[in-house]
Symmetry: C2
Subunit: 352 residues, 2 copies
């Protein structure tokens, strides 16, 4: 009782510290702290009666185990990291919220790690990030999720991860495939059903998996409906507004010009709007436009932009849930992610 000042005061510890320690609960329950520990960790090796008594006490006192003490003993923190190199702020924020939704009430917290995958020491940065705080696991967001070298490092470091990518790249328990291809297929079918035959495609850099998936899905679906895109109708942009303008100017200079353009993200679709307006073309009267991402921009453009939406929040929630799941919980059903087209005002049948 001389060792710990708290012992000298009262059995009920200060509320501010979150409800005492494991020792307080053990003393109150008249058991060893090891037994309390078993209850905390859901060990089956506790008598039902004992367990219930301890659980009631824990609730009553408002006791919450200290994550740092647990982490020290476990050699693993109660932190989940999110690693990303993604210019789409809304994407990041939505995914954070989704992950947090799965983590609520678990005692885990989310720590963020934006990085620059073009710098050659970013992997070392992630390594220190996961190792220093002994992260429980990390969520890998596109496009870093596509980097095999990063994943190799994580495996070697013994850090769990959940990858989010356009198509499965890993074992199911570590992977959330977003099936970007399906969204592009939907766009192809939509434009074709409106009657468009001369269609332009503005892609992103081919090194991105999402670009290849979206592009391939779009072209294949068109082909299935008997539409072939001539090479000059396919231009590679850089996922930026400016590149969207430049690519659209090239496409719209064609004669005859496309009656519809699909851009592989919304940024570039906004660029298409600008190019069209500069040329005196009206969207959608003279040109239909579809984007991808359904970013906040889409609904705010005038006319509002039809775009493909991914359930980003859900993806974040699934990823966190995967990381939190017991290693030995058996095979869990892989979540099926399906993008879908949100049709707005930017498309209509071609004129004439």
């Amino acid at each position: 009782m001389t060792r710990r000042s708290r012992d000298a005061s009262s059995a009920k510890p200060a509320a501010i510290s979150g409800g005492g320690t494991i020792n307080d609960i053990a003393r109150l329950a008249g058991v060893s702290k090891k037994t309390v520990s078993r209850v905390i960790n859901r060990s089956p090796l506790v008598q039902q009666e004992t367990r219930e008594k301890i659980e009631a006490l824990i609730r009553e006192v408002g006791y919450v185990p200290d994550p740092m003490a647990r982490g020290l003993a476990f050699r693993k923190s109660f932190l989940i990291g999110m690693v990303y190199d993604n210019p789409n702020a809304q994407y990041i924020v939505n995914m954070q919220e989704g992950a947090l939704a799965s983590m609520r009430g678990t005692g885990f917290e989310l720590v963020v790690h934006p990085c620059d995958s073009k710098s050659d020491d970013y992997i070392e940065g992630v390594r220190q990030f996961v190792l220093q705080h002994r992260l429980h696991g990390v969520i890998l967001v596109p496009r870093v999720s596509e980097d095999g070298a990063l994943v190799d490092m994580l495996r070697q470091a013994g850090c769990r991860y959940a990858r989010i990518a356009a198509v499965s790249l890993d074992e199911p328990a570590r992977m959330i495939a977003t099936n970007d291809r399906l969204g592009a297929v939907e766009v192809a079918n939509y434009l074709e059903s409106l009657g468009h035959r001369r269609i332009g495609l503005i892609t992103g850099p081919q090194r991105y998996l999402s670009t290849r998936e979206r592009g391939a899905g779009f072209m294949q679906a068109l082909a299935r409906r008997g539409i072939e895109l001539p090479p000059e109708h396919i231009v590679e942009g850089g996922y930026t507004f400016e590149s969207g303008v430049a690519c659209a100017e090239r496409l719209l200079a064609l004669d005859p010009r496309p009656t519809a353009i699909f851009t592989l993200n919304d940024e570039m679709a906004a660029g298409v709007y600008k190019a069209a307006f500069k040329m005196g073309l009206s969207v959608p009267d003279d040109l239909s436009v579809v984007g991808f991402d359904d970013s906040p921009l889409a609904a705010r453009l005038w006319p509002s932009l039809s775009s493909v939406r991914l359930p980003i929040r859900d993806m974040g929630a699934f990823a966190a849930a995967m990381l939190l799941a017991d290693e030995d919980a058996g095979t869990r059903a892989a979540p099926v992610i399906a993008p879908h087209l949100v049709a707005r005002e930017s498309c209509q049948p071609p004129r004439g």
Copy 2:
């Protein structure tokens, strides 16, 4: 040596664990671990020679103290929280990056806590957030930063905080004032200098400090230049795209109608664009528009939107630096944050 398996292997511990423990360093240096601890914590009570030897060893081995062990002993984690209830994703992401920039190399990490300030138990949520992991401190982003009840709770919980708000609400060491008013003044002067006299203002909800500051700054600056805004030229929006459309429709129905409109955020400015186009008015030929926030939207609208930019990244960096600063480091110069107008294509002198 039977106790710790690592002792049995080699003096140089596995690189994967980040470079051994304090005991390894102590043994290698031939000192007690307390002395190593003093070096880690920059205590002056270490002989220069001893210190240098230990520091060299730490670098060589790549030793990094375990934040969980330190946190347990300190009763305080190496985590900084960011608490926000802000619909502007770019704002959040930029601020996160700024905070992280200040934290780089310190061993601290950033843990995020979005919340809903309209729910009545959000303060309890933040309380558990800061208490459970014993956060080192939290960054309070507008608009939760304006909530006195939240700050009271944090004070009572003994959690450090840094508040970011339009105007100082707290002691300088806990406050980053963004001086929103100055940005609005700049807009007023700009529009006046272009020759506008009939000017409309679309505000946000008056309960927000930023709204009041921006609105007051704008009107006062106009008044100083001899322009009074009649009441019907001032309408209250809700910071949403839709409210921008509705407010603009009211303003543009006036006869004579305003030649310029200032909206207190970019979302509503986009709404003004839509309303103008629907009425067949051209921006900027028939109507000049200025927004606030300089969100990604601003540069992507057509014509691109003039808007007030806040140095959000720097604000995040300052906030984190404040939290990391030694309590007894003395009074540090309060950073001066100054918003400024980014003039783009949406304004020109009024016609006629």
